[in-house]
């Protein structure tokens, strides 16, 4: 493409030169030609007029004395005017009086009239000019002369002119071509050079290339200079960009390595917690039970109560460890995004909750067709926790309503789970999402306090937000976006 552009700039220059030259020359020739022709024609006409006047006045006496022979003689002197093909003297009533023909086959009009008062008249056909001139004697019309003249010289002249103009045109076009070569060398070539450099630079991304300054001066030299300056700027910018990118890449690599090391460590940590931390708990619980069972008769009530507390605490610690591990797992788990239907997930959780506590009077409202894209397994955990909480924190009420739906808040779509249960003090709304943070006592509502922490992590991993609203005994609403 750039090649085509290059060709066209030089050929454009040449073409322009030629066009200007040809136009100027043609216009000039045309001007000369028309001026010359007009003058020439006028001169011819004047000559003809004079000739006919002379002939006319020489023939006056012949006309007056009705002497056609003498008129004939007068006419025959026209022999010396080679351009005159024929001539005739007419009587005032338009009849030929005396005629002259250069060659016998030339016809002369048998009758010709001239309007009274008219002195002279002329007309043309394609190769002749005709002129009629009135003859008067003592103020009265005595007849008129008729002359037919060849315009061949005029045609010859035009032809010569055109030939000369053609030769001139060819000569000057060649000259223009030659001149435009020179112009090309001084204008187009530097531009071409520049274009070549630009092309090389953009192809090879080699910004250290420079356009060579040639012999040219003025705007072209400035263009080359500015172009080089621009290249220099790009080069420095490119270099610093490259350096920044390398640094960034290094950074990212390092961070990634650190992150994956941390992740591995976390994984190893939770693996070992999962295996090793629970084993002693099992021993404590198991042997406390063995003690209670095997030494039932030797232990008093208080000892048995202590043992049962030990077992309860141990069990609880087991639950805490499991919850903690689940929380860690949520953080580590890879996100598998897929189209999911939150409504059907919520409904199935509601079903499970109902089955677990069939005695409870709960009205469950789930908005239909809440479809989105996300990790189905993890979002199920979110809804399990939110609906589970709603279920749990309404348990002190004989009748309760739990809703899962979506609504528009400002300019985002938020999902929410709302209930009309125990609620919470809104002053602590921000604390709910911390691990092991609870706003209700263990004796009031059981739980470990990692549910909402898990919810928050999952929502954050989906790039969303989660927040809560509520008031004591007025229920609670948990919003999340995805």
């Amino acid at each position: 493409m750039s090649h085509a552009r290059q060709v066209s700039i030089t050929s454009k220059l040449t073409r322009m030169n030629m066009l200007v030259c040809a136009t100027a020359l043609s216009l000039a020739c045309l001007g000369f030609l028309s001026y010359d022709l007009a003058t020439y024609r006028q001169v011819t006409l004047d000559n003809l007029s004079i000739q006919s006047q002379v002939t006319g006045s020489n023939s006056v006496s012949a006309l007056v004395f009705d002497d056609p022979v003498s008129a004939q003689r007068t006419l025959s002197s026209l022999e010396f005017a080679p351009n005159i093909l024929s001539a005739c003297i007419y009587t005032p009533d338009g009849k030929p009086f005396a005629t002259y023909r250069r060659s016998p086959n030339i016809s002369i009009p048998a009758k010709l009239a001239i309007s009274p008062g008219e002195k002279e008249r002329h007309w043309y056909n394609h190769e002749n000019i005709f002129l009629v001139h009135a003859i008067s004697f003592q103020g009265k019309p005595a007849g008129f002369t008729y002359v037919q003249s060849n315009i061949q010289p005029l045609i010859d002249r035009v032809e010569n002119y055109l030939a000369i103009a053609g030769v001139m045109l060819i000569l000057s076009l060649s000259l223009a071509l030659f001149l435009s070569r020179i112009a090309r060398r001084s204008i187009a070539e530097p531009i071409q050079r520049l274009a070549n450099v630009a092309r090389r630079v953009s192809k090879d991304k080699e910004y250290s290339t420079r356009a060579e300054p040639g012999r040219e001066e003025g705007e072209l030299a400035e263009l080359v200079g500015t172009f080089n300056e621009m290249l220099a700027q790009i080069e420095t910018r490119d270099r610093s960009l490259e350096a920044a990118r390398e640094k960034l890449e290094e950074h990212v690599e390092q961070r990634t390595a650190e992150l994956s090391a941390a992740n591995k460590e976390l994984e190893a940590f939770s693996y070992s917690v999962s295996h090793d931390l629970r084993a002693p708990l099992r021993s404590i619980e198991g042997f406390s039970l063995a003690l209670a069972e095997d030494y039932d008769d030797k232990l008093d009530g208080e000892a048995k109560s202590h043992l049962s507390r030990i077992r309860a605490a141990t069990t609880r610690m087991g639950v805490l460890i499991d919850d903690l591990l689940n929380l860690a797992r949520v953080t580590r788990a890879e996100l598998h995004r897929e189209p999911i239907n939150l409504s059907s997930i919520a409904s199935s959780i509601a079903e499970d909750l109902r089955k677990a506590n069939p005695e409870r009077q709960i009205e469950f409202c789930v908005q239909e067709r809440l479809e989105t894209v996300g990790d189905g397994r993890l979002l199920r955990v979110v809804l399990e926790n939110l609906l589970g909480n709603a279920w749990k924190y309404t348990s002190k009420h004989a009748w309760a309503r739990i809703q899962f739906a979506k609504k528009r808040l400002n300019d985002e779509e938020a999902y929410f789970v709302t209930d009309d249960g125990a609620g919470f003090d809104p002053a602590f709304a921000g604390r709910l999402f911390g691990a092991f943070q609870r706003l209700h006592g263990m004796d009031e509502f059981p739980g470990t306090g990692v549910g909402l922490a898990t919810v928050q992590r999952i929502i954050h991993r989906h790039g969303g937000r989660v927040w809560a609203e509520g008031a004591v005994e007025k229920g609670a609403t948990f919003y999340f976006t995805l």
Partner: protein, 149 residues
Amino acid sequence: MEDAVILLVEDNPDDEVLTLRALKKNNIRNDVIVAHDGMEALDYLFGRGKFAERDTRMMPQVILLDLKLPKLDGFDVLRALRSDERTKLLPVVILTSSNEEQDRANGYGLGANSYVRKPVEFGAFIEAVKQLGLYWLILNQIAPVARRK
């Protein structure tokens, strides 16, 4: 089938006592051979080392296998079992503390027949062992060969 033995591979002495207790609570009276690490378990099964005198035609009815073991871990033992003709079809129940997805997947991938997590509550453990005993010692004893790999 009092003569069919159970092989318990367990390094933690507390867990050993508790597992034996859970078996007893469920009235499972089979002999229990305890191996304390993976090496010992394989020695027993293939009649090597201190079990060189053993009649290896007698294989345990079921193997209860812990995962975290010194020397060879549970997965190594499982791999060795599944790649030997003599033990390829022995029922193996993984009995472990962890509830890690990856352990479960690995266990089943290597050909374990079941996976039981040892709960903290002993009562729940007794219940789990009861289910195990029912299946592997009573229901499954009649056709010991036709088991899934």
